[in-house]
């Protein structure tokens, strides 16, 4: 015979202060885990939202990042002649030669400032290769002018780069004429300007960073990359734009490691606390347990009942944890990418999956903390239990 579930609920309610305090302890532990998962999830989302199907990033052989890559105009001319690159309506190849460097800007988060990526590119075909990017305020930079358009996160997080301000890098001032919105993409953390202006400012008009090309159809992307790498004369390396950005999510590895470590140690602490609470519950209800046994409830039902009660306590904690982290959803922060040597801003993402993980984590703590006390309750001899005060 099974003990009714309401028996557990009522018991939790009777000692509500203890219940609430234990649940809060579990809740805070869950909240710490969830905030780390939301951070890592947000960062991964930023990187996985960057890159367009069919886009291939071409860099110098063995270069790991655009910043450390060197790509000459001659190489670019060779690249444009490769078969498989898509052409637009007017017959131009969709291949964009680009230059990437960084500038140290004031930041809302760091006193010492933070590196931000600058990308020099030509609107045609640079923008055609990234169709999801749109102007949010102001306008695009114009060719031949010292103007830049900045990603929405740069505008928000780096006061020096707000719309209408003058940025200083290279040989002088650059007017911020617009802000662009790239959805969730990491491009929101970049500053874009006209390729010729940016590279002449840096005295590197012949040696640039990389080229982005659109390969059509998508099925020929892998052969295209392979042929490019195999051609030793070209000295080029390539990977899909998607893969390039996905690899960068490893920047979150130290934070992820630290966060999960903290969550596990806190979980150990919280399980002990839950165990304490459940042992106290068992001790207080000793006579009650004896009575239940006299009435004919089996040892197993007693065990199950106490175990369930601990799980309910944990679920309550899990829910509190989820509620505690909800306000974090959408909160923007930044992390340095060692690939681009600059900041990538992203938003915390509290997804239903993350919350389910949190509840699972809470249940795990409840199970860990509830099993031994429940077993102790089940083991009690009827007479001893009845005699207890």
């Amino acid at each position: 015979m099974k003990l009714p579930f309401s028996y557990n609920l009522r018991n939790l309610w009777v000692r509500r202060t203890t219940t609430l305090m234990t649940a809060l302890g579990i809740g805070l532990t869950v909240a710490v885990l969830l905030s780390i998962l939301a951070l890592v999830g947000g960062l991964k989302n930023a990187f996985s939202s960057t890159g367009v199907e069919g886009n291939v990033l071409v860099m110098r052989q063995s270069a790991e990042s655009e910043l450390s890559s060197n790509f000459t105009r001659t190489q670019f001319q060779d690249l444009k002649l490769r078969p498989g690159i898509k052409r637009d309506e007017s017959g131009l190849t969709l291949a964009s030669l680009e230059m990437v460097s960084t500038v140290l800007l004031e930041s809302v988060d760091y006193d010492s400032g933070i590196n931000i990526s600058i990308r020099g590119l030509k609107p045609d075909p640079g923008f055609k290769l990234r169709p999801a990017i749109a102007i949010a305020a102001g306008r695009w930079f114009e060719a031949g002018k010292r103007e830049v358009t900045v990603g929405k996160n740069v505008a928000k997080r780096n006061p020096e780069a707000a719309l209408g301000k003058d940025l200083r890098f290279g040989k002088g001032a650059w007017r911020v004429v617009g802000v662009f919105d790239a959805g969730d993409s990491a491009a929101n953390s970049e500053i874009w300007g006209d390729l010729d202006q940016v590279c002449s400012d840096d005295n590197r008009c012949d040696v640039l960073s990389s080229a982005l090309v659109r390969v059509d159809p998508v099925s020929s992307v892998e052969p295209f990359i392979k042929n490019l790498k195999d051609d030793q004369r070209l000295k080029m390396g390539a990977m899909t734009e998607r893969l390039y950005y996905e690899q960068q999510s490893s920047s979150a590895a130290p934070i992820q490691f630290l966060g999960i470590f903290i969550a596990i140690v806190m979980a150990v602490g919280s399980s002990f606390a839950a165990m304490n609470t459940m042992y106290a519950a068992v001790a207080r209800r000793s006579r009650e347990i004896g009575t239940l046994r006299v009435l004919g409830f089996s040892r197993f039902s007693v065990l199950l009942s106490f175990f369930l009660e601990s799980l309910v306590l944990a679920i309550l904690g899990g829910l509190i944890g989820c509620l505690l982290v909800l306000p974090l959803n959408g909160f923007t922060t930044g992390i340095g990418s060692l690939t681009t040597f600059s900041e990538v801003a992203f938003s915390f993402k509290i997804t239903p999956e993350i919350m389910l993980t949190g509840l699972g984590f809470a249940l795990f703590m409840g199970a860990l903390g509830g099993l031994l006390p429940a077993a102790a309750a089940a083991r009690k001899q009827i007479l001893d239990a009845l005699r207890d005060i």
Binding site: T17, T18, M21, T22, L24, G25, L28, T29, V32, L39, R60, S62, A63, E64, L67, S68, S69, N70, S101, T102, V103, S107, D109, Y110, S112, I114, N115, F169, G170, K171, D202, V207, S251, A252, P254, I255, L258, I262, V265, M266, V268, G269, S270, F272, A273, M275, N276, T277, Y279, A280, A283, R284, T333, G334, I335, G336, L338, F341, E343, I389
Partner: protein
């Protein structure tokens, strides 16, 4: 109060299981606080206090670390009063065999290297051999061991920032307390491998000041020197320079602070809850003690004392575990962002244990106050 200590101890140990669980729970939390504290200290509070380290300054392009400066700056900076030695050096990047074999590779001026880094320990012959060979290189001993590189070997770096592949003769292995996982070679060798119009630059200059106190003034003077030049500079102490890499981890200060706050609050809950539970069981006993003549204050003191004992033990064991963990992280960090210097310093032991005691006592105040105020009649009538 002293005569109550045996009684407090008896009370703390009468429900051993509960006390042990509470101590374990508190220990877990304070262990975390200890680890977070030492991470914070390693990242933000650990200026290199070695005699040479505190005297070193770094100059870089004001725009960004990835931008270079003309080599002509070296002679100008050398003239600044108080600068004892200066070296131009450049982050090379590149790939050694596989991209995953990451370690720091710098092009430098060999004769200057040992002047700005008097803390590098290397044999005189190896030092001379390195300076004499333009294609020579020296590596940290641990690093060389990791990749099984020996003196006399030839190693090749595939360039990425610089479009050249360089072959080096390993001329020596050195020991150093910090930055040991690094490789140094002649910047002239790098320049000569580049087109003629792209030579004679440095990504960074490292200076040794005559005294640490002069550091800030020298830094200002250097930056003032180039204020109106096309390439402006930013000069800071070596530790400030190193700290700027910490921002690559994200807003660590905020994370550490938020997590510590969550942990602290959890501890309050755990302690408060346990004490409240044990007080509730003993209400009748409190009544008896009062009948025997114990005052409200004494009853309260005894309950607080019990909480203090438990949290003291919890804090202590937490520190022990944190100490072990810190050792582990320090060994595993591979020298990233000063974490190799991570340890639980004596002041951290003191801080953690002290906060454990304070927190435990605060958490017990409410239940202790409640118990001490219960009237004898109510207490005797109470059935737990």
């Amino acid at each position: 109060m002293g005569q109550f200590i045996p009684l407090i101890w008896k009370n703390a140990t009468r429900n051993r299981r509960r006390s042990l669980l509470t101590i374990a729970s508190i220990a877990a939390s304070f262990c975390l606080l200890g680890v977070l504290l030492s991470i914070y200290a390693a990242l933000f509070l650990s200026p290199d206090t070695s005699p040479a380290g505190s005297r070193r300054l770094v100059t870089r392009n004001r725009i960004s670390l990835t931008q270079i400066m003309p080599i002509s700056y070296e002679a100008k900076i050398r003239q600044v009063p108080g600068v004892e030695a200066i070296m131009a050096y450049q982050w090379f990047g590149g790939v050694y065999k596989e991209p995953k074999n990451f370690f720091a590779r710098f092009a430098c001026e060999p004769e200057q290297l040992f002047k700005v880094y008097p803390d590098i320990r290397i044999s005189e012959e190896e030092k001379k051999a390195f300076i004499a060979d333009r294609a020579g290189t020296v590596l940290g001993r641990d690093l060389a061991g990791k990749f099984n590189i020996k003196v006399g070997d030839k190693i090749t770096l595939k360039g990425d920032i610089f479009p050249v592949d360089l072959e080096f003769n390993v001329r020596g292995l050195f020991d150093m307390d910090k930055n040991e996982e690094s490789m140094w070679f002649n910047i002239d060798y790098l320049w000569k491998s580049l087109p003629a119009d792209q030579r004679d630059f440095a990504g960074t200059y490292l200076m040794l000041a005559q005294s640490a106190e002069d550091g800030p003034a020298i830094a200002q003077q250097i930056d003032a020197l180039f204020r109106n030049a096309q390439v402006q500079t930013k000069t800071e102490t070596e530790s400030a320079f190193a700290a700027s890499f910490v921002s690559f981890l994200g807003n660590v200060k905020l994370y550490l602070f938020a997590i510590s706050a969550a942990i602290t609050f959890t501890i309050l809950l755990v302690c408060g809850n346990t004490i409240a539970m044990s007080v509730r069981e003993r209400v009748r006993e409190v009544g008896i003690m009062k009948t025997l003549g114990f005052t409200n204050g004494e009853v309260m003191g005894m309950i607080l004392g019990e909480a203090t004992v438990i949290s003291l033990l919890g804090g202590f064991f937490g520190c022990v575990v944190a100490w072990v963990l810190c050792k582990g992280v320090a060994t595993a960090s591979g020298g990233f962002a000063n974490l190799e210097g991570m340890s639980l310093a004596p002041w951290m032991w003191a801080a953690v244990i002290a906060s454990a005691v304070v927190m435990g006592t605060i958490a017990a105040i409410v239940p202790a106050f409640g118990a001490s105020r219960t009237s004898i009649v109510d207490a005797m009538r109470y059935s737990g």
